[in-house]
Symmetry: D2
Subunit: 130 residues, 4 copies
């Protein structure tokens, strides 16, 4: 079996948002999302739209489980808690698989702004059955 | 007080994804998301990336609560359940405010594909305090 | 195959809380929880403790999926939103299976007080793989 | 102002389940739930009923936020992920406030069995406005 190709550029959506994979191994993932003006909540603010944050949570959690399982997984459900406004600037996502079972995998995700403050956290369940 | 301007084009992110507001009134919202190739999960599939679905859930729920409250609200947290793969084609989001309290609002969201099948459901909590 | 015995009294926990099954068929469930003083949040209030509400959500959702699947299911995760204080008095739980797939089932639950007001809502994911 | 009385025995529900508070200070909480036969899932198993676990998650998270805020808080919503079956024996809950804001507090909770294995995790949002 060839190992899973843990890169992000095979996905049109990942390319749209310019996602950068920093590392993905053994259930630990780190990604970077460079700021784009198109991510703004409104023309009158410097905040990220929350929609881009929840997308980032989903992706990072998926790679965390996949990096330990050795194949891609489908999201069952996810929860995102927005802890503080995310100001424009690059974001870093850190995800960790906390369970990779026979039918379900669970990952925890933290999104940090450029100063290292956690702006949102996510918890995601994935289907791991083949 | 001028009424809340319930349109979607003030947001760079809404323009990026090409969101169309069909109606938003009294806690009931309907939006349409026309398909773009950039929404694809992978170059080898015709499925939506889940990240775009969770963003749509968040936006539709927000407008549902805002349309009853009369001002914008910030997302506290959200849950998305992915019920079946969303194939390429336009999506419709229907959201309904099920609580608009003094400090918290809650909305339920359904995402439907072109055939009317529900592909994902969301439940979101928003901060309603001024 | 003998049909699943959809009663509630095989469980010590169900007996502890005095749960009454009203109906469970084809993914639709209705249960009643008669009030007990032991369910109180505090000695100085007439409110239910939230913990008993989340338990009721979990049970009702489980029976909804099981009643359609024909076998018991294990909870993957659940979300409960508390919409208003639940005052002492009997509660009714109504649950509905909204997906019963090969690996995952999803149920929606509403908890109503004696006046029919919805006091809490739940959304639960269950593992349906054999 | 007298400090918040962070004990657990003022609640009939806490007394019903025999909850023991080990510590609650500055957003960090530890509780113990001694096993009772009434917590069993079924007469034919040695597993906890999931309903008692979600109740424990809610309580521990609440105390975590309250211990930092200095007053009681009401649960907005919660998520519980069941990671493995909880076998009979005492449980320990560890909760940590990860945000205590002006309107919302968020807590993370872990439930551990007697061997220290994490059987369930919870994430809860509470209303902190006075």
């Amino acid at each position: 079996m060839s190992p899973l190709d843990l890169t992000v550029d095979h996905s049109p959506f990942h390319r749209l948002i310019g996602l950068v994979l920093l590392r993905a191994k053994d259930g630990e993932v780190e990604m970077r999302l460079p700021w784009q003006e198109a991510f703004g909540r409104s023309d009158r603010s410097d905040w990220y739209h929350g929609g881009i944050l929840s997308a980032l949570v989903d992706i990072a959690g998926d790679y965390a489980v996949a990096s330990r399982l050795g194949r891609w997984v489908a999201t069952i459900d996810l929860r995102v808690d927005y802890l503080r406004p995310a100001l424009k600037g690059d974001l870093v996502a850190r995800a960790r698989a906390i369970k990779v079972g026979r039918t379900v995998g669970v990952a925890d995700v933290e999104l940090m702004d450029e100063k290292g403050a956690v702006v949102a956290i996510g918890r995601c369940a994935y289907s791991t059955s083949a």
